[in-house]
Amino acid sequence: MRKRERDEEFSTFVRSATPELLRIAWFLTGDVEDAKELVQASLTKTYAAWSRVRPGLAVPYTRTVMVNHRNDTWRRRRREVPVDPHVGQRQDGAEDPTALRALADDVVAQQDLIDALSALPEQQRRVVVLRHYCDLSEATVAQELGISTGTVKSTASRGLANLRKHYARAKETVR
């Protein structure tokens, strides 16, 4: 394949796949900035291997690169939750208390889920995201992570149990 055709193909792929890859990366890292870095790094690797990536399999390839990527350094989790600054405002710019309250509830619920995911051990988090967000079969998750189907099954089950525990603890704290 000529370089120009290859670049055009890759460019089309980046434009269509980046939003979804970013969401997966966000679930994997629990942090917006880390997610962006992860996607950028993974796309760079995908481009280097583009001639070997079979047509139609670019998303799974990049996803595999992402889930197998490890940060070089441990990073502390951030507590800030970015929200759209225009949500909770009426058209005239005034605050809308009902919308603000709904936004606050949504943000708390979403952040609970992200926190719960971030608290999982890395492998459990990968399996949970691939299995329950990417909707992959146990066999495909096993293939992408290079582990057995049995390990996927037990890891997913432990992941779910740990997420339940996290919510139970969060509920206790609220009380």
Binding site: R52, R70, R76, D84, H132, G146, Y167
Partner: protein
């Protein structure tokens, strides 16, 4: 609340992406192309310099070392990223093109070993990977890898960081990674208690490969690693919710504090390990018997609370030191007290109410 896997899937799909979760495709493509140009320049794939790279490789293969030594690579693995290779069937290690060490595995994995390899990829950054060799001597596919950049590689060599990677064994897990050859006192911080670490040099890298003994379940027990570099005691945390750092001078044995995934604060001090159990709204302390004098680590519910150290008659305790450390998330702070034996260590709240932490009776040297 997550009830079952359908509920989990539904919740994950319903989460709205935060507004900042965006990348401009043009920026992404620009960065990809820049990185690719750098990579190709390093690997000699660009026209400039490619001939020199081929010539040097040929000289190495024949064992000749003619010409200025500066233009020769240090070793075959300095050529490109050809030692740890991605292929259609996964990633594999080419042992003759990497610096590697092989360490035997323990416990339920006894009989097999782990190969840890470093591929210098031509000099700017590296690839580190590991694969297991089974009892029949077959080297499997790469099970874990990372790509430390030049800065991370420098930090690894200087002992400022490590790269622990948990890896499953038939009945547990082990911790695998690389560490500076000059690092000493390497220790896995685990709820399970002391875990041995074996090391072997990775030739010409300034690094050692390491593997821990098998854990029963490190997914919940491996909290970090600590070691001593020239700069002092270092730590890297793995599966923790929060940490607190006293920032003690490099020569001191500093308590290492982390909150495990069950919310318990765990403290390591030298060879001892303690856990703070109870309500974090109250005074919690743990006294270590390590070394001379009293060594106490306490959790104080707020910054208004403090520690005071006095002699039994209320005078100044000479030689006592108090350091405070604030966790990132938890509301209170930690105090680390080093005080002479016989001193009184008290917790004082914002209103001046005092409570003393009684000195434990130490076993006498004859064991009675």
């Amino acid at each position: 609340m997550i009830t079952d896997e359908h509920d989990l899937a539904r919740s994950l799909h319903a989460v709205q992406s935060p507004p900042g979760l965006r990348l401009d495709p043009d920026d992404v493509l620009g960065a990809v192309h820049r990185a690719d140009r750098r990579r190709r320049a390093r690997t000699g794939a660009l026209t400039t310099g490619s001939l020199a790279a081929v010539t040097v490789a040929a000289l190495w293969a024949t064992g000749s070392t003619v010409g200025p030594i500066g233009i020769l690579p240090a070793a075959p693995w300095a050529q490109a990223c050809s030692g740890i290779v991605d292929g259609p069937d996964g990633t594999r290690i080419e042992l003759d093109r990497v610096s590697y060490a092989e360490l035997p595995l323990s416990g339920s994995a006894t009989g097999s070993s782990v190969v840890v390899a470093v591929d210098r990829c031509g000099g700017d950054g590296a690839r580190v990977a590991y694969a297991t060799r089974d009892a029949q001597g077959r080297l499997g596919e790469v099970e874990g890898w990372n790509e430390p950049g030049e800065e991370t590689l420098e930090a690894l060599r200087e002992g400022r960081t490590v790269t622990p990677q948990p890896n499953r064994t038939p009945e547990g897990e082990v911790l695998i990674g690389v560490i500076a050859s000059g690092a000493t006192e390497v220790q896995v911080l685990s709820v399970a208690g002391p875990v041995d670490v074996q090391r072997q040099p990775l030739p010409d890298t300034g690094l050692d490969a390491y593997v821990s003994t098998e854990f029963s379940d490190p997914e919940t027990e491996t909290l970090g690693m600590t070691w001593r570099s020239r700069a002092g005691v270092e730590v890297v945390w793995l599966q923790v919710l929060d940490t607190a750092d006293f920032d003690a001078p490099g020569t001191a044995t500093e308590p290492l504090i982390a909150q495990d995934r069950n919310g318990l604060w765990r403290i390591w001090f030298g060879d001892e390990q303690g856990v703070l159990e109870g309500l974090l709204g109250t005074w919690l302390g743990v006294e270590f018997v390590e070394g001379e004098g009293r060594q106490v680590v306490a959790y104080l519910p707020s910054a208004d609370h403090r520690i005071e150290v006095t002699t039994p008659d209320g005078g100044e305790a000479v030689g006592a030191e108090i350091r405070y450390a604030e966790p990132s998330v938890a509301a209170g702070r930690f105090a680390w007290v080093s005080a002479p034996s016989g001193s009184e260590i008290s917790w004082v709240d914002g209103e001046g109410t005092r409570e003393e932490l009684t000195e434990p009776v130490r076993p006498r040297r004859d064991g009675s």
